[in-house]
């Protein structure tokens, strides 16, 4: 099963995938941005500041999803001691951190004209900040701890602890009074976003996911090269 992601054979496929994503990425980005920034209607209440949502919501989703993936892979890695999984989680972490910060920053920019404040210590925003701290801890564990085995162990545990935060973020708006509005898109598929706005949102999600895939593949490649060059840190 893990033969498919065997680092020594995968180089060729990574290269091909990167080229493929590169060929469609910019076209899709332009299409999605045109829909999000020009063609979609302004909101009846917020006006044009609704366009921030097209970056904010997908970023937050990606931030949450990346950490969930990191935590699940970390658990597998911790149990079965598969080192390759750690290269993958190590490659996902910076992307997750980037998008979590992006969600916080765009949310802050959106909050000023809509709520009247840049920042509020409400449950959703605070738990999102905690998520970004977990990302930083995870990355720092790899950077600061010299001994590789120990670094992997510590980062795995950090990821598992951080996993508890994910449902807290998800349900924070339902459990407590928050300034942040409840989810517009429910898990059962119902949504309170008008289709003319939902379409650009989904397009932006697709584009940002492609971007994630691109960065992930490039980072993964770099990690493998690093291991091969050093020759000591063998898989």
């Amino acid at each position: 099963m893990f033969d498919l992601i065997n680092p020594s054979r995968i180089f060729y496929w990574i290269e091909k995938l990167i080229n493929f994503i590169n060929s469609i990425f910019f076209i899709l980005l332009i299409i999605a941005l045109t829909f999000a920034l020009v063609l979609s209607p302004p909101d009846y209440l917020q006006g044009d500041s609704v366009r921030i949502m097209y970056v904010h919501v997908p970023s937050a989703w990606i931030g949450l999803a990346s950490f969930t993936v990191i935590a699940l892979l970390s658990m597998l890695s911790f149990i079965f001691k598969i080192k390759n999984l750690n290269i993958i989680t190590k490659s996902i972490a910076p992307i997750g951190l980037l998008f979590t910060c992006l969600a916080i920053i765009t949310g802050s920019i959106w909050g000023k004209p809509t709520w009247g404040t840049w920042w509020a210590w409400d449950a959703r925003i605070t738990s999102m900040l905690v998520l970004s701290i977990f990302y930083v801890l995870f990355i720092l564990a790899h950077k600061l701890i010299e001994k590789e085995d120990k670094a992997i162990k510590v980062s795995n545990i950090i990821a598992v602890i951080g996993l508890i935060n994910i449902p807290v973020i998800r349900y924070s708006v339902d459990w407590w009074n928050t300034l942040h509005q409840p989810s517009s898109i429910k898990i059962d598929g119902t949504t309170s976003i008008h289709p003319s706005m939902l379409m650009p949102l989904m397009l932006m999600l697709l584009v940002l996911l492609l971007y994630c895939a691109l960065i992930l593949l490039m980072k993964y490649k770099t990690e493998i090269i690093r291991i091969k060059k050093k020759n000591i840190k063998r898989i």
Partner: protein, 142 residues
């Protein structure tokens, strides 16, 4: 694949996860009062140990036809459809502050139904739609 060591690690992880969930659950439930970003008028009516003249936040809906603006202050009523609270405020309000919409007021409570705000935040709901649609909906209602 399931050697003794693997089983040991699985049980360690599950123990860690369970204890974490329990710990986080207890921490969050005991902190509920601090986590709540604002109290609703009903919360204030029901609570016994309320401290007056202390900074707090009240949130709910701005009651329809309750906004009264004169050149000194803005007065309005925050409602959660069960209880109401009068709010008096001096200053500028955010753009989204309007009747029938969510609002959070930051300030001090004078008594259980009178609140002096020194900051008003607008709360946005989860609905997003183009303006034309909103106009259509209004016409339907009329």
């Amino acid at each position: 694949m399931l050697t003794k060591k693997v089983k040991k690690r699985v049980s360690f992880l599950s123990l860690l996860l369970i204890s974490l969930v329990v710990a986080v659950f207890f921490i969050l439930t005991s902190l509920t009062n601090n986590i709540l970003y604002f109290k609703s008028p009903t919360d204030i009516q029901l609570s016994q140990d309320i401290i007056f003249n202390k900074k707090m936040r009240v949130g709910g809906m701005v009651k329809k036809d309750s906004i009264d603006i004169n050149n000194q202050e803005i007065k309005f009523i925050i409602t959660d459809l069960k209880n109401e609270i009068f709010v008096s405020y001096k200053g500028t309000v955010p753009n989204l502050f309007s009747e029938g919409k969510g609002v959070v007021a930051e300030g001090t409570l004078k008594d259980k139904s009178f609140f002096i705000a020194d900051r008003i935040l607008a709360k946005h709901d989860e609905k997003y739609m183009p303006p034309e649609l909103k106009d259509l909906m209004k016409k339907d209602v009329k």
